[in-house]
């Protein structure tokens, strides 16, 4: 029991563990909030399935610092993101933008679901007369 409680506590607290070093954090908390938000959307190109905010990789740390330096220099959030994208491509965005090449990615699942529904409707429509026939038969047998 003790072990279970300990595991659950540790598991829950792990949400609050971040890769950001205390030394990296900006003094101005409103700027720091912006930096954190940007970092959460940028993929760490070394570990790939983590954001740079979560990653301990050195390159991720350097990118976090770059994001903060650019914010301090007065760049807008979009300008910071655009700079990183201009170097690494759309791949660094954990939330890929909706555009020509990502069209299938965004709308493919919806289209496939729709096709599935259409097939289902067609299927049941075809079944309807059969079911009615069966019911009729059943009724006759009962008689």
């Amino acid at each position: 029991m003790k072990f279970l409680i300990l595991s659950i506590t540790l598991l829950l607290s792990s949400n609050f563990v971040h890769a950001v070093d205390p030394g990296e954090i900006l003094k101005d908390s409103s700027l720091e909030i912006r930096a954190r938000a940007i970092s959460k959307d940028l993929r760490c190109v070394v570990c790939q399935n983590q954001s740079i905010d979560d990653s301990d990789a050195e390159l991720a740390r350097d990118l976090r610092i770059l994001v903060r330096d650019r914010i301090l220099e007065g760049d807008s959030d979009q300008a910071v993101i655009d700079y990183v994208v201009s170097r690494y491509g759309d791949f660094v965005l954990l939330n890929p933008p909706v555009k020509g090449v990502t069209f299938v990615l965004w709308f493919g699942p919806i289209v496939i679901t729709l096709i599935g529904f259409i097939c289902l409707i067609l299927f049941f429509r075809r079944q309807k007369p059969l079911i009615q026939d069966l019911k009729k038969n059943n009724a006759e047998v009962k008689k």
Partner: protein
């Protein structure tokens, strides 16, 4: 007849998906296509490493085909690649610029070059990854081929070997020079 064919539709779809995914299996997710290809060398400016006079910036790319090599004394693959770069230098094949990436100690880079030889004609010091990020680097070594007009033409990830030199780098360089 048409109805019968429809039964094969799922199979055909499966075959298409299988072909698509099996093509994806062979791709290495670590090799990203560089967005810099056919674009100007990104703006950057790096100071010299300790004991050297000249650093490296985007203004150093003009009127010659050059390689830019990202290296570090901590990087094992760079050590493997190094003798080949020395050979290129010795034969005067092509000027090589170096970006000395993320040395923990300022003396590490210079000491490494002193020990194994210096194949670079210009070297920039890049402790905070500014140059590496400008080039969209994800690991070392990485090498970029830049043409006479300062346009990035090729990105090579991992160590340069005789084989990939013959297969990709050498032909690309020859093509740029013969324009």
């Amino acid at each position: 007849m048409m109805k019968r064919l429809a039964y094969f539709l799922p199979l055909v779809l499966l075959a298409i998906l299988a072909a698509y995914f099996s093509a994806g299996l062979g791709r290495d997710p670590q090799t990203l296509d560089s967005v810099l290809i056919n674009k100007k060398v990104p703006e950057f400016s790096l100071p010299p490493i300790r004991g050297f006079n000249a650093g490296l910036s985007n203004n150093d790319f003009l009127n010659k085909v050059v390689l830019v090599n990202i290296f570090g004394s901590w990087c094992v693959s760079c050590r493997i690649e190094h003798p080949f770069l020395m050979e290129l230098k010795k034969k005067g094949v092509i000027p090589i610029y170096g970006i000395n990436w993320r040395e923990q100690n300022q003396d590490d880079g210079p000491r490494w070059l002193k020990k194994f030889g210096n194949p670079y004609s210009l070297i920039g010091d890049d402790p905070k990854s500014r140059g590496a990020i400008a080039f969209g680097v994800t690991g070392a070594p990485e090498t970029f081929l830049v043409d006479q007009r300062g346009i990035v033409r090729l990105k090579h990830m991992g160590p340069i070997t005789q084989q990939n030199w013959n297969d990709t780098l050498k032909p690309a360089i020859d093509k740029l020079r013969n324009r």
